[in-house]
């Protein structure tokens, strides 16, 4: 970064954008984090699960008699009892017969589906007892391939639904046919994004205690989920205030997957039934097969229409997503990409056929990016293919099609305005930092050494500030347009500031975020500000940290509440100084008369007035100092149009990845030599936190690109259900990552911030895949599916060589 750029990016802020040690680090580094598994309740009992070994079967009988004889076993519960006592979890789309319960009843629909649960005095006893439960099954036909599942003759995962397609809608935004007709070329391709996920170190954990005197269910869970307390109360047939979720537990990683609603319903029911605390912690096997945490699993069929000069005019995309056996919010993961369906490019019209299909696999849940990373990979692969087809450089093609910085706000065909951006500059900064020409020289050197080597490039969007727009878009019966977040700020008698938020945190450093923002507005040292996680009965409504929204939404809410505090202090100052509010300024917690700085009331005195001296308060003002602010997502609150156009997310971060990779032609092993990520998420409130997210995101995308896949056998058995087979990147695979910042402030947010929780992940898989295909192109080979494992690469090289050879023979 040049000096000028540094200076132009220098924030006009006191605390925002400054280096600051994250508040949370202290407890994590000193081993004082407090997770759901750390909750110790008197008389706590423990749960073990009996799961289906079949992908599809009828349950003929369940014999728990031996288990119940084991000393220490408190109860064995099956779906027959549980499901009659609760309401089902419903899918996010209009498919009321696709109901889901924590325990299967009569049929099982995937390997790993919960069939029975044992509660015992200890986990060990519960597990021993689980091994004594015999379930008799009769297998029924299953379907595992999403495309086969769409066929009318396929076995039905939910016969009552009448089809395995749970959602399908073809959107046409703009004159797609005309643009295809007018374009000089079209190019069709298919890419596949494998079922992978985030797989946090902490599996899902939940502890519940039923307080019979208060008639309230207390819940401690490693949760990251909007509307969790409401849904839990509804399914358990309790009043909304009959459930109290304690958000003050640390969550050991999530990025979307900590959606343990079914776990909590089961444990909550058991706690109430037994009238004693119950805890369930997934072990890794449980987590991976039945934890409902596997991510998007997609086949994209794309056709691009473009001109000889490289201008991409229109796109047709069919995305088939295999959501597994049940539906939560998974079909909606095809909905978020509607808001960035053209990526950062000026593609004028789009046809998008979104198909969500059920198969006999573990259900899919939200994973970082909510479907955007696969879509970005599909678009970027196409852009590279167009460049190769036209014999142009991938840099040229991108620069030709990137939305220009003077075109914002930019309306894309699907109805979303991109708020701001300077894509070409960020792209250039990434190329400069990588020293692109040098990278090409290194690539060619590696090629001379006998390696296959390639450079990968991606330019991708991160829509941020998550809201609910995909809900009404994908479900006509859903009119949710409110997607607020909130914060309460309080100043006590001693003048200390405390802020309260109503959600859990899974590593996003919300305490750092809120204290920095409140400190900025009130001009108080952020480290003196305490940030608390309320429980769900004390909290203001939050829609939880999803969709890269907390810097925008929680940050905005905290700023709003702090501004109300500041306004109140100014009013108190005006009343006591005998001047109008307009004559005052607020500086470092003091109220000062603008024209006579000697006339001022310091912080301590202002606080004393509002807490103790009612006689000095302006008439009618509430005593004390506590304000809340609830903020609706900016640009939110609108229903989609009839033809399916909608403002999806408000803010759009941008990232550009440049990577140099080599492939060992003998083994297919990939090495990444240089990695640069240019990143623009507007004003960074906590740069260290943003950089941490981005770095981890790059590693996450590396896993999706090269290693991670939940693989199933033809029988529907999960074959990669341990870390021996589900491979994740470690320090051995992740290269040093150079992050280059750029700042294009968002006009929609308090400080110009955008989201960054999905940073790195949204563009790294596309770039790494591009680098490998650049390397394989030397041999005329190409891979269009992830993960590009050494074996997949090796096999592609072999088959290409064989094809070439047989082609030669024919000549």
């Amino acid at each position: 970064m040049s000096f000028q750029e540094k200076r132009s990016m220098k924030p006009a802020f006191k605390y925002i954008g400054r280096h600051r040690r994250a508040v949370e680090h202290r407890r994590f580094v000193t081993g004082q984090g407090r997770y759901a598994a750390d909750i110790r309740l008197h008389g706590m009992s423990h749960v073990a699960i009996v799961a289906s070994p079949y992908a599809s079967a009828r349950i003929l009988s369940i014999d728990a008699s031996e288990a119940l004889k084991l000393p220490g076993v408190l109860a064995v519960i099956t779906g027959e009892e549980l499901n009659a006592a609760i309401d089902p979890m419903l899918p996010g789309v209009d498919a009321p017969s696709v109901t889901r319960y924590p325990l299967a009843h009569e049929v099982v629909r995937y390997t790993g589906e919960w069939v029975a649960a044992v509660v015992a005095e200890s986990r060990a006893i519960a597990e021993d007892a689980a091994e004594l439960i015999y379930v008799e099954y009769e297998t029924t036909p299953h379907v595992l391939d999403a495309e086969k599942a769409m066929d009318a003759s396929a076995p039905l995962v939910h016969p009552k639904h009448g089809s395995n397609i749970i959602f399908r809608r073809k959107f046409t935004w703009g004159p797609v046919d005309d643009h295809f007709g007018q374009s000089a070329h079209t190019l069709s391709y298919r890419v596949k994004w494998a079922r992978s996920s985030t797989v946090p170190i902490e599996t899902f954990a939940v502890a519940c205690e039923w307080n019979d005197a208060q008639q309230v269910l207390d819940v401690w869970a490693s949760i990251q989920m909007p509307k969790y307390p409401d849904l839990l109360a509804k399914c358990l047939r309790l009043p909304g205030n009959g459930v109290r979720v304690h958000y003050d537990v640390d969550v050991g990683g999530s990025y979307g997957v900590k959606r343990g609603l079914k776990h909590t319903i089961l444990v909550g029911y058991l706690a109430r039934k037994l009238n004693r605390p119950v805890r369930f912690i997934e072990d890794r096997l449980e987590n991976m097969r039945g934890g409902d945490m596997q991510g998007p699993d997609r086949i994209f069929d794309v056709t691009l229409a473009f001109d000889t000069d490289g201008t991409i005019n229109a796109m047709r995309m069919r995305a088939v997503d295999d959501i597994g056996a049940y539906s939560g919010r998974s079909p909606l993961q095809l909905g978020k990409p509607v808001g960035a369906i053209v990526g950062p490019y000026r593609i004028k019209s789009v046809e998008y056929d979104a198909v969500s299909v059920m198969t006999n696999k573990t259900p899919q849940e939200a994973v970082r990016g909510f479907g955007q990373a696969p879509t970005n990979y599909a678009i970027e692969t196409g852009v590279d293919k167009v460049a190769r087809f036209l014999g142009m450089s991938r840099i040229y093609i991108r620069n030709r099609n990137l939305i220009r910085s003077d075109e914002f706000p930019y309306l894309i065909p699907s109805g979303t305005y991109y708020d701001s951006g300077d894509y070409a500059t960020v792209f250039r900064k990434a190329l400069d930092a990588a020293v692109y020409d040098e990278l090409v020289r290194q690539r060619d050197f590696l090629r001379q050494q006998g390696q296959l080597a390639g450079v990968g490039i991606s330019t991708c969007l991160e829509p941020s500030g998550g809201n609910s727009s995909f809900e009404p878009l994908f479900n006509p019966k859903n009119e949710t347009t409110t997607w607020m977040d909130s914060c309460l700020v309080r100043v006590d008698l001693a003048g200390s500031v405390t802020a309260l938020m109503g959600t859990s945190t899974s590593g996003q450093a919300h305490e750092t975020l809120v204290s920095t923002v409140v400190g900025e507005i009130l001009e108080r040292e952020p480290d003196t500000i305490r940030v608390m996680h309320a429980d769900s009965l004390h909290a203001l409504p939050s829609n939880s940290p999803v969709g890269s929204r907390m810097a925008i939404m929680l940050g905005g809410a905290a700023a709003g509440a702090a501004k109300k505090i500041r306004a109140k202090l100014l009013a108190v100052g005006a009343h006591n100084l005998g001047v109008p509010v307009e004559a005052l300024i607020y500086e470092n917690g003091e109220v000062i008369v603008k024209d006579d700085r000697s006339r001022r009331i310091p912080w301590d005195q202002l606080i004393e007035i509002v807490h103790r001296k009612y006689h000095q308060m302006p008439p009618g003002m509430e005593p004390g100092l506590q304000e809340k602010f609830v903020w609706e997502v900016p640009t939110g609150g609108k229903m989609p149009t009839e033809d399916g156009r909608v403002q999806m997310y408000p803010c759009h971060s941008f990232e550009s990845h440049v990577v140099l990779a080599s492939v060992d032609p003998g083994t297919g092993k990939v090495t990444l030599h240089r990695y640069v990520c240019g990143h623009d998420c507007g004003v960074m409130i906590s740069p260290d936190v943003v950089h941490g997210m981005t770095y981890g995101g790059v590693a996450h995308g590396l896993g999706a690109a090269l290693m991670e896949k939940f693989a199933y056998s033809e029988d529907g058995q999960l074959l990669s259900g341990t870390f021996m087979d589900y491979l994740m990147p470690s320090a051995m695979e992740v290269p040093p990552v150079t992050i280059v910042d750029h700042c294009t402030p968002s006009p929609l947010t308090e400080f110009g911030q955008k989201g960054s929780g999905e940073a790195g992940y949204l563009g790294s898989a596309a770039a790494i895949a591009g680098a490998i295909n650049d390397a394989l192109a030397e041999r005329g080979a190409c891979i269009d599916q992830l993960p590009m494992t050494p074996f997949a690469i090796w096999r592609t090289l072999q088959s290409t060589a064989a094809r070439t050879q047989s082609g030669d023979n024919h000549d």
Partner: protein, 235 residues
């Protein structure tokens, strides 16, 4: 998946066939087998304990015979429930050929496992299957070879409370492909085996159509997942 193998047993084909038809002999040869119970001439219930890495379970299995052509060949169908660790099921086609050295036994098994066995066991099961096969054939040979056909050697069952290796590590390693001449006409001394000379099988019964149930059980419960590794490679 498919698992194939071939064994040379220094005994006449008829003896091998009959031994394979003898639940008592097979129960003794098969590590971990606790019980074999005939439900009908073609159906047997099998109870055996298997340990694969961290998984240990008692399998309850049903064995069915089909296409039996004594003493040459048959097909066995097996389905075993291991409770929470999953299931194994499959079929095994067995052919016995007479050779100069005795009998050549060829088997071709197809099978699948499910549940935790598939999730966890895919990395371990190859070796477990190999080991169990070796143990089985070693014991089986000892039963059949050179006039010892009626002398029973037992491989102790894998107890639920006992490390399985304790029962099996002492059995000498035998390569299935090893030519039978290497063993000579005399059986290898079976000092490492737990010998119970006083325990005799009470006369070989007449034709009982259960040849190779042990193979099916063996393969299905332990070995059959070798193909899982192949499937994994297809990822």
């Amino acid at each position: 998946m498919e698992l194939t193998g071939s064994q040379i047993i220094a005994a006449p084909r008829q003896s091998v066939w009959e031994a394979l038809n003898n639940p008592d002999i097979l129960q003794r040869c098969l590590p971990g087998c606790e019980k074999v119970e005939r439900l009908s001439p073609e159906e047997f219930q099998v109870l055996l304990v298997a340990a694969i890495g961290p998984l240990r379970a008692r399998f309850k299995g049903l064995l069915k015979l089909s296409e039996a052509r004594a003493p040459e060949s048959c097909v066995m169908l097996f389905e075993g429930q291991g409770g929470p660790v999953g299931f194994g099921k499959g079929s095994s086609e067995v052919v016995l050929n007479e050779t100069d050295d005795g009998t050549e036994l060829n088997y071709k098994a197809k099978a699948q496992v499910g549940g935790k066995l598939a999730q966890v066991g895919s990395r371990l099961i190859d070796n477990v299957a190999k080991k169990m096969s070796d143990d089985f054939f070693e014991a089986f040979r000892n039963q059949l070879s050179a006039g010892r056909a009626t002398e029973a050697f037992a491989v102790p069952a894998v107890s639920m409370r006992e490390e399985p290796r304790a029962a099996t590590t002492e059995i000498p390693e035998s390569r299935t492909a090893e030519p039978v001449e290497a063993r000579g006409a005399q059986p290898r001394p079976s000092k490492e085996n737990v010998r119970r000379p006083d325990e005799r099988v009470a006369g070989l019964p007449g034709f009982v159509p259960v040849p190779t149930w042990s193979f099916a059980a063996l393969l299905v419960t332990f070995g059959i997942v070798t193909g899982v590794a192949g499937t994994l490679l297809l990822r």
